[in-house]
């Protein structure tokens, strides 16, 4: 629905940002990260009839946010069969080993290809003196720093925007998030570089700006998807607003927030490849050098390392998602 909410599309899905009621909002979003799939199933079960088909809309969180489904799959599978037979363990053996095995194979294949390839002077020059590890390290730094800032900006802002006093601003923030999605990352980065000058700072700000909105949208969706009756109950037993937030709302929203972390990490690994156009370094340097100088080995090293890093980061984040999820939320309905 995020996608549909953008532009003028309101009509096509009424459960959009306009829906102030819990269930409609939640069902609209539940698809976005794999995690809420489960919360949607339990919480918004009433609404999951017709909007049940809408989850996919939710994934619009960001084109890329769909990837959450991958990680969410195992638990989706465990929640969907109505009589949950022996519940599979959180981290299955295959899940733990498959991705790393593929990564190792990929890197090994690249390395073997390199062993037999004969490299000319220019290629050797571009890859020597630890330049590859430097680019890799820069890339990791860009990703980690930007993810950190994205999270400390987006999550508190999301919490703030779902408080009663700011609730009116939520649709505005969502609409803004949708608009932001239409902005090409490279254009945003280029504008920042022109504005702030070339260098790492502009690149970092660009990466952060690009990821804040999807994570913010995720957080808001997660907090709004919480079952209103639970919050009611918490208030009923005399919890203060802060207590409700800290002891009920946030723990319930943990899966979504973790999905947001994963979204941010993966997005940032991708956007960080563009940092090279702003003088920010990273693995994009190898890719662009390879393209401009027509040296395929350089290009392949840069690309393969970027792909491996993205998959590794996604895998680590999906593990974190599985392990850090509050145990009470596992069983589904």
């Amino acid at each position: 629905m995020r996608a549909s909410a953008s532009g003028s599309s309101g009509p096509s899905d009424p459960s959009g940002p306009s829906g102030s009621s819990g269930p409609s909002g939640s069902s609209g979003f539940s698809g976005s990260p794999g995690a809420p799939g489960s919360s949607g199933a339990s919480g918004a079960s009433g609404a999951s009839g017709s909007p049940g088909r809408r989850p996919e809309g939710g994934q619009g969180v960001e084109g890329r946010a769909l990837r959450e489904e991958g990680g969410g799959r195992p638990d989706g599978a465990e929640a969907s069969p109505p009589p949950p037979a022996a519940k599979p363990p959180r981290v299955t053996w295959q899940k733990l080993t498959f991705r790393p095995a593929v990564l190792i194979a990929l890197l090994l294949a690249t390395w073997l290809w390199f062993e037999q390839a004969d490299l000319d002077a220019l290629t050797r020059n571009a890859l020597s003196n630890g330049q590859v590890s430097k680019a890799l390290w820069q890339h990791i730094e860009l990703t980690v720093i930007s993810t950190f800032f994205v999270l400390i900006i987006a999550i508190p802002l999301g919490i703030l925007l779902t408080r009663r006093m700011f609730r009116r601003a939520t649709p505005v923030a969502m609409a803004l998030a949708n608009m932001g999605q239409a902005t090409p990352a490279i254009g945003l980065l280029a504008l920042l570089v022109i504005w702030l000058g070339i260098g790492r700072r502009a690149a970092l700000i660009g990466i952060i700006a690009y990821a804040v909105l999807p994570v913010l949208a995720n957080t808001i969706a997660g907090l709004r998807a919480n079952d209103p009756t639970l919050l009611e109950a918490a208030r009923g037993i005399g919890m203060s607003p802060l207590g409700v937030l800290g002891r009920v709302e946030l723990p319930l929203a943990v899966p979504l927030i973790l999905a947001g972390v994963r979204t941010a990490l993966v997005l940032n690994v991708g956007t960080a490849t563009l940092a090279t156009f702003g003088g920010g370094g990273g693995l994009g340097v190898l890719i662009t050098t390879g393209i401009t100088s027509q040296r395929m080995p350089v290009l392949v090293v840069g690309s393969v390392l970027t792909v491996a890093l993205a998959l590794l980061v996604d895998w680590l984040a999906s593990l974190a998602e599985l392990l850090l999820r509050p145990r009470g939320l596992e069983a589904g309905p």
Binding site: A3, R53, L66, V269, L299, V304, L311
Partner: protein, 215 residues
């Protein structure tokens, strides 16, 4: 030269780039939609094939666009081929996922009823299941299109067509007075195109989503 003067001066080139951008995205989306729905239809019935397709598309989506293009260049060279392949591939992913989720979400009793009144499997698919799954598929198409707008801009670095060329020309001439205008024209052009496509999809949704299931 301010931005408006720049636009007045270069509107032909900007329009040509915008046209190419829209055209490559549109053509790739058509291909991606056909392939994506086809993959969805083929895989959704079987538990493992559907899950495999979903997982594979999710994994592919984590791969940064520049790296994907970088891997395609040694195989297919520079220019239009890597752009088209990368765009179609990325465009496919949300559609496959939504097609599978949508087709699996169709109420089994409806399919049963269709079978009961004597519809063949193909007829059930074409007249019951696909129309019911169409809204999520359309959502997938919209998500894909927005994503492709940005990826097409990056593909310009591999000599692809479109508005990305303006952005990269701006980056290459940092400091010159036209750099900002070029980048701005490219970026705003892409945003405008994305919004136009989105509006078009709303219209298509109005026209093609069967009245009975419109929310």
């Amino acid at each position: 030269m301010n931005f408006w003067e720049y636009l007045a001066n270069r509107h032909q080139q900007v329009l040509a780039d915008a046209y190419q951008h829209a055209s490559v995205v549109f053509q790739c989306m058509v291909m991606a939609t056909l392939l994506g729905v086809l993959i969805g239809v083929v895989t959704y019935r079987s538990e493992w094939a559907g899950n495999l397709a979903t997982t594979a598309t999710a994994t592919l989506l984590t791969i940064p666009a520049l790296a994907m293009i970088g891997l395609l260049i040694p195989v297919v060279g520079l220019g239009v081929p890597p752009t088209v392949i990368a765009l179609t591939l990325y465009g496919l992913l949300p559609i496959v996922r939504n097609a599978i989720v949508g087709l699996r979400g169709v109420d089994p009793s409806l399919v049963d009823a269709a079978e009961g009144i004597g519809m063949s499997r193909t007829a059930r698919l074409a007249r019951v299941e696909l129309p019911l799954a169409w809204p999520p598929i359309l959502t997938g198409i919209r998500v894909s299109t927005q994503m492709l707008m940005g990826i097409a801009a990056i593909a310009a670095y591999a000599s692809g067509p479109g508005l990305g060329n303006l952005i990269f020309r701006g980056i290459a001439s940092l400091g010159s007075e036209n750099a900002l205008n070029q980048v701005l024209a490219g970026t705003l052009g892409i945003i405008v195109l994305a919004l136009l496509f989105d509006a078009a999809y709303v219209l298509i949704g109005r026209l093609t989503i069967p009245g009975g299931i419109r929310a």
